[in-house]
């Protein structure tokens, strides 16, 4: 696989209050690859993915997506290519109806009316929410909102889908539906999560971010198996979860 699709070189970022959220991040991702981003609370995971969308502004180092560098004039192209699904779907869904929310992205990115309509319907079908098309998003359950939030990003045909804690607050059935949806998507995925079994199921490769630095970059299975790496980074598999059945 070509590892050059997404490149981050010496990426560092400091918040205005002086808190250093990221330091010297070097990362490469190939097209179609699914990468898990693991790590304890406050490790800089959300900051990292906000940078992927060019939202936090000034940073040290550089990011390059498919040979497009993150500059002001490229920001619209970058945002179209990188679909960001936020942790709280209530932050993402603000239009009066589900369909209008899903149409919001493609409209802004200059798709024509027919494409906007077609992409939105297709995205809602992909996440199995087509029957909720005219419902106000705030009347949906949390799991349904999460699916609509994913559709609202898929409708803009992103090449890279970035999800921030997509399984948080979901009941087991909704979590399973979400995993199945993500596994069937033909896009590159960066999955930020504390849900280690989910990362194992979706992403063949993972990194661990701790104190703004990458402390591990390997196959997800190997990372989860390495007890020292796990405990050094405040990670732990759920009680009763066993890896032995996956051993080569």
């Amino acid at each position: 696989m070509n590892k050059q699709y997404l490149r981050m070189n010496n990426l560092s970022f400091e918040y205005p209050d002086g808190y250093k959220a990221l330091s010297d991040i070097n990362l490469e991702l190939s097209k179609g690859e699914r990468l898990g981003v693991l790590g304890p609370n406050g490790a800089g995971k959300t900051t990292l993915i906000l940078h992927l969308n060019g939202i936090l502004g000034e940073l040290k180092g550089d990011i390059n997506l498919n040979d497009i560098s993150y500059t002001e004039e490229n920001i619209s192209k970058i945002r179209k290519s990188v679909g960001l699904v936020f942790q709280d779907p209530d932050d993402q869904l603000f239009m009066p109806t589900v369909l209008e929310d899903v149409m919001f992205g493609p409209k802004n990115f200059g798709f024509n009316d027919m494409q906007v309509q077609e992409n939105s319907i297709k995205a809602l079908e992909q996440v199995k929410m087509i029957e909720y098309i005219d419902k106000p998003p705030h009347h949906l359950s949390f799991g349904q909102k999460r699916k609509v939030a994913i559709a609202s990003v898929l409708a803009s045909e992103p090449e890279l889908l970035v999800l921030d804690e997509p399984s948080s607050n979901l009941d087991p059935a909704s979590r399973r539906e979400l995993i199945d949806i993500l596994k069937n998507l033909e896009v590159s995925i960066i999955l930020v999560t504390h849900d280690l079994p989910m990362a194992l199921e979706i992403c063949s490769r993972s990194i661990i971010l701790n104190n703004g630095k990458i402390t591990a970059d390997s196959e997800t299975y190997k990372i989860l198996k390495d007890e020292k790496t796990m405990s050094d980074n405040r990670l732990e598999l759920p009680f009763g979860f066993a890896l032995h059945h996956l051993e080569e």
Binding site: N53, F86, M95, H138, S141
Partner: protein, 254 residues
């Protein structure tokens, strides 16, 4: 996370008014309210005609009378205010009678009746509009009337996030009560002030997160609602013009 479903005012009915374009209802009702506001109450014919128009709309809205009366309770503060007028508004000083040694002035009584009639008619129209038009349709109507996109965005965000905010308030209250908070007495105000401050900060932070999520989907300053289908209605516009004519005649001729 719980969601709130309880504050919707629109009534699901097959009324002609429900199917009518919201922009027509907004403009027509606005002008009818204006013409009622400028009506003098010396001519009972004009008052009766305006009342006929308003209660005709109420009948057409198919709103249950009990629901109408319940919603009319929003009138109460105005009624209370109006009840003081006979004692306070002297006008030419003509005293009609007295109550508990307090004089009741003729001008005050007239003003009280004027306010009661006008407020009741205007509030009735507002009730009809909200009962036959959903929040989204009102915003859509305002968009069709070329109201500033910024205002449209503010209205739609307010409607969208009122639920989320109410849920947050509920959660904060529950968590306070679960730790023994009692909402009585002056001592209860301090934690309430802290909780309000926390909610304000949370609201601000959510605003930032919502804006970030909009930026990530290419937001460039305007929200656009999709086209909706309604029937056009010349009758409502005609009634609005008729109402204005009544007021104009009342002001300048009768």
């Amino acid at each position: 996370m719980e969601t709130t479903h309880s504050h919707h005012l629109e009534i699901h009915s097959d009324s002609y008014l429900v199917k009518t374009k919201p922009e027509i209802k907004i403009v027509s009702f606005f002008f009818i309210i204006l013409s009622i506001a400028f009506l003098s109450l010396e001519n009972t014919l004009t008052i009766s005609m305006q009342s006929l128009i308003v209660f005709g709309f109420l009948k057409a809205s198919k709103l249950k009378f009990s629901t109408y009366l319940k919603r009319l309770s929003i009138d109460i503060p105005f009624i209370l205010f109006a009840l003081f007028l006979p004692f306070m508004s002297k006008g030419d000083g003509k005293v009609l009678t007295s109550f508990m040694n307090l004089p009741i002035y003729q001008t005050g009584v007239n003003e009280m009746i004027t306010i009661l009639i006008k407020i009741t008619l205007c509030v009735t129209l507002a009730i009809i509009l909200t009962a036959t038009t959903s929040n989204i349709e009102i915003i859509y109507g305002l968009q069709k009337l070329k109201v500033s996109p910024l205002l449209i965005s503010i209205f739609s965000f307010a409607i969208r996030y009122i639920d989320v905010f109410i849920d947050e308030v509920k959660r904060v209250r529950v968590s306070m009560r679960s730790r023994g908070y009692d909402e009585k007495g002056i001592k209860s105000l301090k934690p309430l002030a802290f909780a309000s401050g926390a909610l304000l900060i949370r609201g601000y932070e959510r605003g930032e997160r919502v804006y970030n999520s909009m930026l990530s989907r290419g937001f460039r300053g305007t929200l656009e609602l999709k086209e909706r289908e309604f029937i056009s209605s010349n009758i409502i516009l005609f009634i609005a013009i008729f109402s204005i004519t009544i007021s104009a005649l009342d002001q300048f001729i009768l």
